[in-house]
Amino acid sequence: MPSKRIVITGLGPICSAGIGHTQVWNNLLAGKTNIKKEKVVVDDELWAEYFVHKVDGFNINNFGIDRDALNYIKEWKEGEEIVDLNYLLAAVKLGIDDSKLTPKDCEKHTSLVLAHENLNLMPLGIKICQLAYDMLKSNTDSNISRKEFLSSIYKKFLKTGYDAQTFMGLFHVAKTFNIHNYSLFINNACASGLYALEAASQIIRSGQSKAVIVATSDHTDIYKYIWFNDIGIYSPDGKTRPFCKDSNGLVFGDGGASIVLEDAQFAKARKAKIYAEYMGGGFSLEGWKVTAPQIGSQSYQNTINQALKNSKVKAKDIDLLVPHGVGSGPIDYYESKAITDTFGKNPTKPLITAFKPYVGHNLGGAALLETIILLLCLDNKTVLPTLNYSNPDPKLNISLVKKATNKKISLALKACCAFAGYNAAAIFKT
């Protein structure tokens, strides 16, 4: 029996370029990046300043999500708002609206796959640190026992700690949208979005569901910034410059993303708009270091080749490639090597363009968000140029798109080389 064809019928982006695909596309065309300086001040003391691609005008109450469902979450969380979760909820709603899946479709035929690097974990850590500090300050005689201290903190964070378990995020989102079919939570660092798409396609191919909503998100916080800054890959001037001589690191980008995948027959039967077909993916775990790729390995090349093989397409037929493009020397070098090994040195085909200079690095949500932008390029028959690409590194032997190019794209490849060596590639066909 031939394998089911998987098509994409809904896009739900939330990023610095806007909310919803129409606004996002218009702002991307205009080159709007919405980079702002984030100042973290604690008790009037400046802790850190760094640049972030920010989402403007986000309000979870403006998406038409069922009020009772939102209230349930609010009550469960005792008023605590988790921005990452709100981005997930909003992105899922945008994706459902765009795909025109009905509430009945969601309930009967739809599964949910969420991908996130650390949902709820950072807010929990920040709260614990703050409470611990307050307790230490107020306890001037320092006679508090370790047991008293630990049990007091544990009690206060029982709910928040429990909610840091990933199944709780999955539960809240699925419950909100009445999704009762298969559900899955995925975490493969920055490559999570592509792993999630592949998992979704397998859910459909297995016959478990006719449609799957895949959603991701990430919201910046100082702890993530400190980590990336300490290892020297956060851009001090807030400009991502992929594959450039003067690349100086990445810049975070807030937001969320959702993509709706469907069995092509189901999509056609309900006359859904089809953005593209998901052809297949390639995946590997290099597993060398957490923060650096193993230069000289073939892991990424193998991943791309596996995606080509699984999609039954040849490298020469790929029209557009969107790499990870983080703007960090070793990672850019590692990526360019995989690209030139696959497509030849200084290839004129595929066109190559990178989107992090527009929307920043959305970490666990990056691959999905950038896949949406890729799909918008396909839909609008326009390849967006790579911003900040004014000083290309000729040693990398690749050249990125410098100005918006009108072109019908038949086959596109999204690739990602994430921390810990999670490499992923996915192919889309129009």
């Binding site: 020297g232 923060t291 650096a292 790729p293 230069i295 000289g296 390995s297 020397g329 070793p330």
Partner: protein, 87 residues
């Protein structure tokens, strides 16, 4: 131990020389990878990969940027080998 270290140092010099395309005799123990030998973050990873393969050891992520001279590399490798042999 001094001889062992000296022999290890020669091996490291050769290994680094091969990666950066220089003659091993030009490399001194105290030469700074970044300032004197033109090692960048890409070459640093290539050197790390080569060291790990040759000695079958693992260098921690955070140690890599802190190794700035051949002498320091010898020290880190020596410690890793001792740890490995003690197991």
């Amino acid at each position: 131990m001094a001889n062992a270290n000296s022999s290890l140092e020669q091996e490291i010099k050769q290994l680094v020389a091969d990666v950066i395309g220089r003659d091993a005799s030009e490399l001194t123990t105290d030469a700074n990878f970044w300032n004197d030998l033109g090692v960048d973050s890409i070459k640093a990873i290539e050197i790390t990969v080569a060291i790990e393969r040759k000695y079958k050891i693992s260098i921690r992520d955070e140690q890599i940027p802190k190794i700035t001279t051949i002498g320091q590399a010898v020290e880190v490798i020596q410690q890793a080998l001792e740890k490995k042999n003690a197991k």
